[in-house]
Symmetry: C2
Amino acid sequence: MAPVDPEHVIRLQHFVPYRLAVLAEQISRAVGAVYAERFSLTRPEWRVLAALGEHGEMAGTDIARFSALDKMAVSRAVAALQERGCLTRHDDPRDRRHKRLRLTPRGRALYRRIVPLALARERFLLDALPAQDRAALPRILAALQRRAAELDGLDETAP
Amino acid sequence: MAPVDPEHVIRLQHFVPYRLAVLAEQISRAVGAVYAERFSLTRPEWRVLAALGEHGEMAGTDIARFSALDKMAVSRAVAALQERGCLTRHDDPRDRRHKRLRLTPRGRALYRRIVPLALARERFLLDALPAQDRAALPRILAALQRRAAELDGLDETAP
DNA sequence: TATTGTTATACTCTATAACTATA
DNA sequence: TATAGTTATAGAGTATAACAATA
């Protein structure tokens, strides 16, 4: 095959969006195995559990914003967790459209069993990095995320 | 809510697997909009196109390995691209189980139209990073990927 | 027997939208 | 009118496995 003008070829293994997608899938599988296989939680269910474990009590929309899920995903995950006896829903007397969601003792116990395993896997991943890169990572992720949000905005306003 | 022992809580916004998953989704949406909305390609189709655009001619299993897709995804993407007249399949006389896949002129033209747009979006993302972080990123991604592969292996061998 | 590639199936995820009940 | 949450639906992705053809 004749090589093409390098400006007009993407070297996939070096293309950052591709690399990030593959890495995220891989990590999601490796870390997700903790809550998926051992505790039969889907990823949205785990995120809802994590949001409530961290914050104690939230409304559905707060969870959606906090966990980067849409409201249907939250709704289904909440229903599944309630089914398992992991959370309760109470009407908010101040605004009865809201449901106040909180973990039951059973839900908190589940959360507490998962957290150390998930943190251990994160630590294992980050241990591969020299200190300087480990410090740079959160900064890089934040910068890329801001920039990606701008790109998303471009699509919506100028189709 | 009583705060819990910090060793037993995950702060989701700082949890790297979560941050990476959210970022990858966002970038996938932003960059994927190029080939999805404007050129009606799914992500697997785009990856197959990118593999063939970079390498010229490949068998299905090579594409699968190169593009981090499984063989069914490749099979379906290849069928869709052939349907659109973007690639051809020829029997390999040396091993007739293989199909030799290559882009048609139409497929190459499509590839050439997408590449500059995708590269521009990548550049836009990376422009947000200071030079040092931009240099660190490929190194970090590679290290995390090696490590995630080890984690994946752990799950399979020690369930 | 093992490998390439296709097909079948089922489950999850995503996106859109319609609907309710409250405000 | 607008918001919180649920339900319905269809499209895409993913995973497992069975299968045909070839090696």
